[in-house]
């Protein structure tokens, strides 16, 4: 086995895993910033533990898991979460329902375990992690599982470092702006995974995600502009008094 062959396997596993890790990180960062880090990180850690246990228990038999069915279920749930958040963020930005007192609610939300945040992070890490495992098994076939796993671990470490670096700047963005962005992100991921689950080929494959997220953002911005033209000034709502 030549070093060039091993190097190619490491690079292929690194690049393919990088895409999946970035997708998982995007969702964990999004829910962590908007709904509190504690729950998002517990969900992500739960996903990693679940995958580790699954890998140790069944190993290469993992390839037989029907990924499309899993993508369909996760996609539908993400769409329901994401579009609900996006709708509410549009109505808040447009002044139809009150803007929340962000500092007070953020403090309240980050001190308790939030089920939405936990479940969303868990699902994202589990689904993307499964894809990484498939990448490692596929690129590491013919006795090169260790180099493929090294490539995936390098990609994962790089993405985690990027996530730690992004955490602080994201915390400075106003809450409704973040919820708006997270709603567009989760909706985009939801449509993408539903399409994958239904075996619809996306133009540009994974790059279609960018188009979907951009599309939801553009539609939502248009909706906010339309709502603002017909609604009064925004209200501020205290925690516990949600319209």
């Amino acid at each position: 086995m030549s070093w060039a062959h091993v190097g190619t396997v490491i690079l292929a596993a690194f690049l393919a895993s990088l895409v999946e890790f970035v997708e998982a990180l995007t969702i964990v960062l999004a829910v962590g910033t908007t709904r509190g880090w504690r729950s998002a990180l517990i969900g992500a850690a739960g996903g990693v533990l679940f995958l580790t246990a699954l890998t140790l228990a069944v190993g290469p038999a993992l390839q037989r898991i029907p990924l499309t069915a899993l993508q369909l279920v996760v996609g539908v749930l993400l769409l329901l979460f994401g579009m609900r958040w996006l709708r509410k963020a549009i109505l808040r930005a447009g002044g139809v329902i009150g803007l929340r007192d962000e500092a007070a609610i953020y403090a309240q939300e980050t001190t308790r375990v939030d089920r939405v945040s936990l479940v969303t992070s868990f699902k994202a890490v589990t689904l993307e992690g499964l894809e990484v495992i498939f990448v490692v098994i596929a690129t590491g076939a013919r006795g090169l599982l260790v180099p493929a796993a090294v490539g995936a671990v390098l990609a994962g470490s790089l993405v985690i470092l990027a996530g730690v670096g992004l955490r602080r700047p994201l915390a400075r963005v106003p809450e409704n702006t973040l919820k708006f962005a997270v709603g567009a992100l989760l909706s985009g991921f939801g449509v993408f995974w539903v399409g994958e689950g239904l075996r619809y080929p996306w133009p540009g494959e994974d790059l279609a995600l960018l188009g979907l997220v951009g599309g939801f953002t553009a539609i939502a911005l248009l909706a906010v502009a339309a709502v603002r033209r017909s609604a009064g000034p925004a209200l501020v709502v205290r925690p516990g008094i949600h319209p």
């Binding site: 539908v76 749930l77 769409l79 329901l80 979460f81 579009m83 609900r84 996006l86 709708r87 509410k88 549009i90 109505l91 447009g94 139809v96 089920r115 939405v116 479940v119 909706s187 449509v191 993408f192 539903v194 399409g195 239904l198 619809y200 080929p201 996306w202 133009p203 279609a208 979907l212 599309g215 939801f216 539609i219 939502a220 248009l222 909706a223 339309a226 709502v227 017909s230 609604a231």
Partner: protein
């Protein structure tokens, strides 16, 4: 019994805030899964068509909610 009912209510609340909005999303998914293939829509157009359907559901709901 009360705890089960509360848990179910919380679970429902995770997915549903406006029932007509949720039904619109689920209806779009049913159309994408069954009507697109039946109508002979080309594979490459099915994903983008689903996005358009969902965008219309969102815009219609926002238009109705602004009252």
């Amino acid at each position: 019994m009360n705890a089960v009912a509360t848990a179910l209510r919380q679970l429902w609340g995770l997915f549903v805030e406006d029932a007509s909005f949720t039904l619109g999303i689920l209806g779009s998914l049913v159309v994408a899964a069954f009507a697109f293939p039946a109508l002979g829509l080309r594979d490459a157009w099915r994903g983008p068509a689903l996005f358009v359907l969902l965008a219309l559901v969102l815009l219609e709901n926002v238009r109705r909610s602004r009252g």
